[in-house]
Symmetry: C2
Subunit: 258 residues, 2 copies
């Protein structure tokens, strides 16, 4: 059997190697030469279809298919870190990979496709969390507001599942949520900003930015569970002063609309 | 029992957590709030003695002692990443830590002590390897020329020891060594440079710099084992052209002399 993990910023490979060693499993864990190529945005599906064919449309959110381009099978996943959705292609052949890049660029010409990177404003508007700031190793998927992606009742044997079940039973005491912060444009936040109610700190804002489209400051943070219902009024202590704020649904209004 | 690991750049903590999980060990692994403070250089011992007392002189290379400053016990280790040696102090109290910093600065005034960072030229002259370039996860201590720090015959049960013993028995096929590169000042190397003999690549240079003191280019690299004896002549392919080079003892001549 062969499994792929796409590990992002965390060196979870070392953790997997430790588990394999500790359990004396007969596995080989290695990092393959893979260069992920992301096609993201509202027209991503049309661009990827132009290169890989109509089959792409059937791939569900965070699922993948092995699709052919120039005789080579690429793993194409409907995943990625953008508000409008898109695809991540796992390029394992440098030569055909360059041809794939050119083909995608050509197919995307009508949509002005080009090299890009995540946009801070859009990221926060969409509620896309950053590992290391919005969520850390100390958070389970429950504190990270990702409970919809965890099957607590499934009859499977998974590391950590018992621990998460225990947390779910006991109830979490803090949770990631969205906030709109009143007042003028807030500065960039390098450190978490205290969030207070009645002079007592009840959480912190971990990402914040002025949204020109929504004409307000949008933010992500973790608050004590009693303060997470939408509409709860709090005070955020920014370097520019204390401003009133309120818990908002995430994604922020209209953020994922095309 | 309580063990401390000082993990440098590699997130080996995740590996340890994996092993503990896999072996179902009853351990708690966590990252404490520790800020290592290094006092390095030829006069480091005198400076640290001035603050922690004469006991410091008895601490052996890469050993440590718990020494008192202002009523607080600090772990003081004779370790660090400099050619002349020195000490690393594991500061676990922010307030007394600042007072310790001031006391060290005051004691070091006569030696012009001040904030500093590793020096690339001195690092290479001294043969101090960088994890990630000179050595990687693919190297055992044997390829890394660190066999003197490994007890292959000791009657201990250690993860990986059997594997290293097997490598030692079979013999390694490549090893880190020093090189002097002839010709003009070489540019900084961002990628490994091929090392050739008779038109065939037999290794690569991973770190190189012009040494004004030794008036030659000094370098670290890994070569096929047959080419590692001191004096072996090779060809190094740099972005500035191909230059003759020879395997050198490490540290490079005079690099660790006071």
């Amino acid at each position: 059997d062969r499994f792929w993990f796409s590990i992002s910023d965390l060196d979870i490979l070392l953790w997997a190697q430790g588990i394999a060693l500790g359990m004396k499993l007969d596995v080989k864990i290695f990092e393959p030469d893979i260069w992920p190529l992301a096609v993201q945005g509202p027209k991503a599906e049309d661009v990827v279809v132009a290169v890989f064919g109509e089959a792409v449309r059937k791939t569900k959110f965070f699922r993948f298919d092995n699709l052919e381009f120039m005789g080579h099978k690429f793993l194409v996943a409907r995943s990625g870190w953008s508000a409008q959705g898109g695809f991540e292609i796992y390029v394992d052949d440098a030569v055909i990979g360059v041809q794939l890049y050119d083909a995608l660029a050509k197919a995307g010409k009508q949509f002005d496709i080009g090299p890009g990177c995540p946009n801070l404003i859009e990221r926060i508007e969409a509620g896309l969390m950053t590992y290391g700031s919005d969520i850390t190793r100390a958070d389970t998927p429950l504190e990270a507001a990702m409970e919809q992606y965890v099957s607590l009742d499934a009859d499977i044997d998974a590391i950590g599942l018992d621990a998460i079940r225990a947390v779910a039973k006991r109830g979490i005491d803090r949770r990631v949520c969205g906030l709109t912060i009143d007042g003028p444009k807030v500065p960039a936040n390098r450190n978490p900003w205290p969030v207070k109610v009645g002079g007592k700190q009840i959480g912190s804002v971990t990402s914040a930015v002025w949204s020109p489209r929504l004409e307000t400051n949008v933010a992500l943070g973790q608050l004590a569970i009693g303060y997470t219902p939408v509409g709860t009024k709090v005070l955020v202590q920014t370097p520019a002063g204390e401003f009133s704020a309120q818990v908002s649904p995430v994604p922020f209004d209209g953020a994922t609309k095309k």
